[in-house]
């Protein structure tokens, strides 16, 4: 739908007979099933496209459905607790309907994921080296020794000091930043096309955050992967992403190239978010919080999910849900789901 090419150095897709986008998610829905079997929709028809070698940031507050969307794409939601609808095509192949053994072959090899909390995401009783080597061995029929050598090499690439020695250490023996490096080494082990990073730095100190983001960007470049960055941090996304999608209450409200979105937000929610971010040079008096709180999944208002908190609410907002459509000032790269998008004076 939105084949924007102006934001990234477009490269000819590799081995791509269908000329399909790298990852094309259309109308993704997730229903969480409670113990009694009742379904609660938490993701309401999310669509986005990830192109070769680009970085797309999915931004939202906690509970906005960004992480669960990523898990749904990875096929990590257990069938007993969640029902996933829509499609997620990886080079034309719909992952959501793919038989499990074929999906398994893609996971970790073509699509890999970096999780938020590396301490709990790594198995506490196995050595980190084993866990990296295991990924390699699961997909390539290499021997123990070769997998080990490659794991050590990967640990060196994510700048773990003394990788050959530390191969045999367990996750709890590493600092938070080092653990996240191990997670990253595991994810890039097989040079995947798509790297999904779910709040990769949220659990870390600010100084370490920058290093990890730098490393991620660097490795993305080296391996030629595309990066789907899931975060609540607008600043982090600004430094890394090519394009940004803003999520709220299980929907995408606005999507645009990063600079355009930050300079000229078209959705009142985006503007609210940007106004609530403290800036180094700014005065805290300039901070304007968005009034109210995000709705819980069971308490969604009718019409636009944001309208009860929206300063520019109009009459259609309470009754009609806006669609995500190309919008001024820069269609088709910009998509907005709002009946009354902000007037953005003149395109650049």
């Amino acid at each position: 739908m939105d084949h924007t090419t102006n934001h990234t150095t477009a490269k000819a897709p590799l081995n791509d007979p269908l000329d399909a986008p790298l990852l094309d998610v259309q109308d993704l829905t997730v229903d969480v099933l409670s113990r009694s079997g009742a379904a609660q929709r938490v993701v309401h028809g999310v669509s986005f496209t990830l192109h070769e070698e680009e970085t797309l940031a999915l931004i939202g507050e906690s509970g906005s459905g960004k992480s669960i969307s990523a898990m749904a794409v990875m096929g990590l939601l257990p069938a007993t607790t969640a029902r996933v609808g829509g499609s997620a095509r990886h080079r034309g192949t719909d992952l959501l309907t793919l038989p499990e053994d074929q999906f398994r072959a893609l996971r970790g090899r073509r699509i890999a994921m970096v999780f938020q909390d590396a301490l709990s995401a790594l198995n506490p009783t196995l050595t980190v080296g084993f866990q990296i080597a295991e990924t390699i061995r699961a997909h390539e029929g290499v021997g123990r020794r070769e997998a080990r050598a490659r794991a050590v090499e990967l640990m060196a690439r994510v700048r773990i000091p003394d990788p050959a020695l530390r191969y045999r250490d367990h996750p709890h023996q590493f600092s938070g930043g080092m653990r996240q490096r191990i997670m990253i080494a595991m994810a890039v082990a097989l040079s995947p096309d798509v790297l999904i990073a779910d709040e990769p730095t949220t659990a870390l100190d600010v100084t370490v955050q920058a290093q990890i983001m730098e490393l991620l960007a660097e490795l993305r470049e080296e391996t030629g992967s595309a990066l789907l960055l899931i975060t609540h941090d607008l600043g982090l996304a600004a430094g890394t992403a090519d394009r940004v999608a803003i999520m709220y209450a299980g929907r995408i409200l606005e999507q645009a190239p990063v600079q355009e979105l930050y300079d000229r937000p078209a959705h009142p929610y985006t503007r609210g978010l940007l106004a609530a971010v403290p800036r180094l040079a700014g005065d805290t008096d300039d901070l304007t919080p968005i009034p109210g709180t995000p709705p819980g999944p069971g308490l969604l208002p009718a019409g636009c999910a944001f309208h009860p908190r929206c300063p520019d609410v109009g009459e259609r907002c309470a009754t009609q849900e806006p669609m995500l459509l190309p919008a001024l000032p820069d269609p088709p790269a910009r998509l907005v789901a709002c009946h009354y998008p902000l007037e953005v004076s003149g395109a650049r």
Binding site: G108, F115, P124
Partner: protein
């Protein structure tokens, strides 16, 4: 290393505590300790006097305890009324008890872990419920009731197993007693494993393993099982200590000539010194096993070592 030393020191402390409690309960209780040792049997004055001397009962308390401890260190568990050393009486009974305990232990480990994993992977199905019902049953029926029932039904009525004694040798004579000894532990192990597997299946690192593209077999086999079995291994290891001392009733009921039977018969014969001696030996073995278990555990779970 510091962990090792700390653990050994703790064990030593517990050893002194335990021996003190046993000593206090046996020899220092108000009333005539010799009469207590003798139980309901009247004692000839000469025997009583000899016993008083032998147990250093006319020395100060601490000295008495010292004598007792020194004896323990030399493997002296006391002598019975006929003058035979308790340790000696135990010596040739060990093989029977070891065979019984190890057989029961094997059943407990294999069947318990198997049932637990099965129930967890089929959570909520009839398989799961059947295993649950079985474990509740095995936990509720006292082992001597179970033993007699098994003896009457499987041994006498159906004739599937020898009724008692060990004339058929291992494994024939040991299977039914071992099953009865294992029943409770088996149920506990399977419940423990089930709960652990279910919890671990939901752990973040399992999600990571799936995201890496590992096969389900490998996710369950390497990641879930390994972590789920740590508590079960701890339980099983401690249980070996219990089993060695916990065969009292079963060896009595099935008439297996092991340590347990010695204790069983000694209690019935009111042979006080033998009861105390055998129990002390079994308690000390239990203590030694639990120390070993902790050390083994620290090898299995790296988090303990580095605390």
């Amino acid at each position: 290393m510091t962990y090792l030393i700390r653990r050994l020191l703790e064990a030593l402390l517990v050893f002194f505590g335990i021996s003190l409690v046993i000593y206090a309960m046996t020899y220092v209780l108000p009333g005539d300790p010799i009469a207590a040792l003798a139980g309901d049997r009247p004692l000839a004055p000469s025997v009583a006097r000899a016993l008083r001397e032998q147990h250093h009962l006319d020395d100060p308390l601490l000295v008495q305890y010292g004598h007792y401890l020194a004896g323990l260190f030399h493997g002296d568990l006391g002598t019975d009324f006929s003058g035979r050393s308790v340790a000696e009486q135990m010596a040739d009974r060990w093989p029977v008890t070891l065979k019984l305990a190890l057989t029961a232990w094997g059943i407990e480990a294999v069947v318990g872990i198997g049932l637990g994993v099965l129930a967890a992977l089929r959570q909520g199905t009839w398989t799961d419920r059947t295993v649950l019902a079985f474990t509740i049953g095995a936990t509720s029926v006292p082992v001597f009731v179970l033993a007699y029932t098994a003896q009457v039904v499987l041994g006498v009525r159906l004739g599937w197993f020898p009724v008692a004694g060990n004339t058929d040798g291992w494994p024939t004579s040991y299977l039914l007693p071992a099953l009865c000894v294992a029943a409770f532990g088996l149920a506990s192990v399977s419940r423990l494993v089930r709960a652990e597997v279910i919890e671990n299946l939901r752990a973040d690192y399992v999600r990571t393993a799936v995201a890496k593209g590992l096969s389900r077999r490998r996710v369950v086999g390497v990641h879930v099982l390994r972590n789920s079995l740590i508590p079960a291994v701890t339980y099983l290891a401690i249980d070996l200590g219990y089993l060695l001392g916990g065969t009292v009733i079963i060896e009595g009921v099935f008439n297996l000539p092991g340590i347990g039977q010695l204790l069983f018969q000694a209690i019935r014969a009111h042979a006080g010194p033998t009861v105390v001696g055998v129990s002390t030996a079994l308690i000390l073995i239990f203590l030694a096993v639990s120390v070993l278990v902790d050390l083994l555990n620290s090898l299995l779970d790296p988090r303990i070592r580095h605390d």
